[in-house]
């Protein structure tokens, strides 16, 4: 049984099901991270400590590198979709592979950041700034891991669909891309708020 508008767009709404679905999901994610930003604001305002001093212990150069890495992965992601639109499967594999590599790079740098903190006995329980720092970056990190799983699936076993239903596969990459760009978007806000303010 075919569900209509899985691939083709519906005329009066102008979208297909997955496109609408992913944007709605991203809307809920905005509310999720929004609640955490609210938490940050409320706790910082009520805090006896000066958070602009507290975040001096964070490694800004490393995090800047991480920002570059994640933005790069966003570009390679959209390029992988563009390659499929130009019917170039080999290029798609290349760009998607780069995306996944960059994502792992992000996680590895994050690992170094976290372990440096733990070595200096800086934990979520140390102060409320670190509590929100670890919570927000960890939740973001979980979303990165989720993206890696999805993208790896589409790079590997999932890519077989290109041979049988290329349009549907291209759609899926566009949808995965939207999710991935959102993960990047969250970091674009997380980075200055946590590290620079």
């Amino acid at each position: 049984m075919e569900i209509p508008y899985t691939i083709e767009t519906r005329e009066d709404t102008g979208v297909n099901n997955a496109k609408l679905g992913i944007w709605l999901f991203l809307a809920s994610e905005v509310m999720l991270f929004g609640a955490l930003f609210t938490t940050y604001i409320l706790l910082r305002i009520g805090s006896a400590d000066d958070w602009s001093q507290l975040n001096d212990i964070l490694n800004v150069p490393l995090a800047t590198l991480n920002t570059v890495v994640l933005i790069s992965s966003s570009v390679t992601m959209v390029m992988s979709w563009a390659s499929l639109m130009m019917k170039d499967f080999k290029k798609y594999k290349l760009y998607m592979g780069l995306t996944i590599l960059c994502s792992f790079g992000f996680l590895i740098i994050k690992y170094f950041e976290y372990s440096a903190k733990f070595e200096h006995h800086l934990y979520p329980s140390t102060n409320t700034f670190l509590a929100i720092y670890f919570t927000m970056t960890a939740l973001h990190g979980l979303h990165v891991i989720g993206g890696i799983i999805v993208n790896t699936y589409f790079w590997g076993p999932g890519s077989k669909m290109w041979n049988t239903q290329p349009e549907r596969f291209t759609n899926r990459i566009e949808i995965a891309g939207l999710y991935w760009h959102f993960v990047d978007l969250v970091w674009i806000f997380l980075f200055p708020v946590l590290y620079l303010l």
Binding site: S28, L32, T39, L42, T128
Partner: protein, 628 residues
């Protein structure tokens, strides 16, 4: 009434793609068919509703007779008996009855386990710690495992695609996942009873600092909530995409049955309001497991000792994040109910609903406003008068669309040829009961009167009027109404009427006294019902009245349980359009609907949803897909 048979290409498509026979497990357990999933949600939710009801009845023993030994077997025996009856009432072959019967027996076993424990009932007398577990889990189970899964997961899933002429939901696999994640959430919540210290006991609202330092059950509650919220999120995306994208040809938004509009607005509430609670849950998990202090202020003293955590947090943060969800949540509880009532009233007055446009715009406005009233639950937290005035104003404004909807439904009765069948009786009762519930909310929404009423039994009376003889009556109405669509048989009318009258009378004897006790100043969540307070003495006698009413209401539910499970196989057989209704779910589908694809011929809509008694037509109802 048979659907028009035109030869359509889609008819071939239906049979071409799905020609393989699915295994028992893929067909009935791990199904992607919205109807099966709807039934799964329905049965599971009904079981949880009963369990939540059981917990309340246990609490009411303590409230009526504080310190008296708990007569466990009087509570367990009827459930176990019901379980056995349901198991065998229509034979021994595996069916829905098997699952339900076994669940009932398991429920009895759970209560036996809890009641026999010396940790909960030393010498048979209930401890306050256990009373609090009952309180917190009653609320949690009723709201998150009972009412919403039934109203949205069951009714929404089953009826909505049929009403819009869709073959299934937009994302069938996601739908299946929604159900099983909900199921896991339910299992998680039940597991919490078996850990040291028992289940969560800090109220369904889980306010810190108490919930932060509560027993392990609270951590499990938080994990359970993560499951339930995730399930809800997946479901709401599915519902919105389905309603937007999969409407049949000719079914514009303003031709949708109000039931679908209600589900549409509800889904937006679930989508956007739940994530902050998910965030709050994560934060509380961090507080409990990682030693953070998101919700713990500095220098907190418990039992004479300063707590060792860092401080710097605030319990108010939890309250904001919690109520940001929990206020829209109450509109999630009522909107689907209003949707169900609308369908039943239109059908049983044999005339169109009055003010369809008002209903739609009111529902949309209600949904929007519901996001900006939440701090009326926090009037007593020390907010300044400016911001209190803001929330008081938005709260007063939000009563307007509620009144518009209620008024439209009441006016819809005028001049109707009313058929007093069981669904209609429940629908009619909904109207004044929701009216009482809504009106009693007004003194709570005004911050000055809220000073006296906050955290008293008045609040409990208010919200139970809306949810119990309000939403739950609507859900009963819906079950009696759509039962013939799902099974091809009607439930028994006599048993239905007994169920209705008994429940209606009992509901009022349970919840009206709460308003009186609250006005007298009796606080909520008191383990002994106010026994130790001088100001409560004059209204203490009402505790026994309410408890007896609750137990009698339980007895009347037996009529429903027997009726429901018996009628699945032995009910009176009826036609596809048992109620002679206009909407696509009735007029264009078989009873039960087709295993897949839902429609013999995909309908095309030519008129509005409630064309009853149209002058010049042959029948007193004109189906939506009928051309001329």
């Amino acid at each position: 009434m048979q659907p028009n048979t035109k030869s359509v290409a889609q008819h071939h498509d239906v049979h071409q793609s799905e020609h393989h026979e699915l295994s028992f497990w893929r067909k009935y357990v791990f199904s992607t068919d919205h109807k099966i999933i709807g039934i799964q949600y329905g049965i599971t939710a009904l079981m949880f509703l009963l369990l939540g009801f059981m917990f309340m009845m246990i609490m009411r023993w303590q409230l009526a007779y504080p310190g008296a030994a708990f007569p466990m077997y009087f509570f367990i025996a009827p459930i176990a008996l019901m379980g056995v009856v349901v198991l065998f009432i229509t034979g021994i072959k595996p069916s829905v009855n098997t699952v339900a019967g076994l669940s009932l027996v398991a429920m009895a076993a759970l209560i036996w386990y809890l009641g026999s424990s010396d940790e909960n009932f030393p010498d048979g007398i209930m401890l306050p710690e256990f009373y609090n577990q009952m309180g917190a889990m009653h609320g949690t189970i009723m709201v998150f495992l009972g009412v919403v899964p039934l109203a949205v997961g069951a009714f929404g899933n089953y009826v909505m695609p049929l009403q819009i002429g869709a073959p299934d939901m937009a994302f069938p696999k996601l739908n299946m996942m929604s159900y099983w994640v909900y199921f896991m959430g339910g299992v998680t919540m039940l597991i919490s009873f078996f850990v040291p210290g028992g289940a969560a006991n800090s109220g369904w609202t889980s306010y810190p600092p108490l919930s932060n330092i509560a027993t392990t059950g609270q951590t499990i509650w938080l994990l359970g909530m993560v499951f339930l919220i995730s399930s809800s999120l997946l479901g709401s995306v599915n519902f919105i995409v389905t309603i937007v994208q999969l409407r049949a040809k000719g079914l514009s938004f303003m031709r949708l049955p109000f039931f679908v509009w209600a589900q549409f607005v509800t889904s937006f509430l679930l989508l956007l309001a739940f994530p902050p609670l998910e965030a709050a849950g994560v934060l509380q998990l961090m507080d409990r497991l990682a030693g953070t202090s998101f919700f713990m202020p500095s220098g907190l003293v418990v039992s004479g000792q300063i707590l060792p955590n860092t401080g710097g947090g605030t319990p108010l943060l939890w309250q904001h994040l919690f109520w940001f969800l929990a206020h829209p949540e109450v509109y999630v509880l009522i909107l689907p109910a209003m949707g169900i009532i609308s369908e039943i009233i239109a059908n049983n007055t044999r005339k169109p609903l009055w003010g369809y446009k008002s209903l739609v715009y009111a529902a949309i406005f209600l949904g929007f406003m519901s996001f900006i009233v939440w701090a009326h639950h926090m009037f007593m937290t020390g907010m300044g008068s400016t911001i209190s005035a803001f929330f008081q104003t938005t709260t007063m404004i939000i009563s307007i669309p509620s009144v518009i909807i209620l008024s439209a439904l009441i006016i819809s009765l005028w001049g109707g040829s009313i058929r007093f069948n069981t669904p209609m009786l429940f629908a009619l009762a909904f109207l004044p009961m929701f009216g009482i519930g809504g009106l009693t909310g007004l003194p709570l929404g005004l911050s000055s009167s809220d000073i006296h009423l906050h955290d008293t039994y008045y609040v409990i009376g208010h919200f139970h009027y809306v949810v119990a003889p309000g939403t739950i009556f609507a859900l009963f109405a819906g079950i009696y109404f759509w039962f013939p669509k799902a099974t091809g048989r009607k439930m028994n009318e006599t048993l239905g009427k007994i169920h209705f009258w008994g429940s209606f009378v009992c509901m009022n004897f349970i919840f009206f006294p709460m308003l009186i006790q609250g006005l007298a100043g009796v606080s909520r969540r008191l383990y002994d019902g106010g026994e130790q307070y001088a100001h409560a003495q004059s209204v203490l006698y009402l505790n026994e009245v309410m408890s007896v009413a609750a137990w009698v209401m339980a007895l009347f539910q037996i009529f429903f349980i027997v009726n429901f499970f018996r009628s699945i196989k032995k009910g009176e057989k009826v036609s596809d359009n048992a109620w002679e209704a206009t909407t696509l779910d009735w007029s264009a589908t078989t009873s039960p609907p087709l295993a897949h694809g839902n429609f013999d011929t995909v309908p095309e809509v030519h008129r509005g949803p409630y064309e009853y008694s149209v002058p010049g037509q042959k029948n007193d109802f004109t189906p939506q897909h009928q051309k001329a």
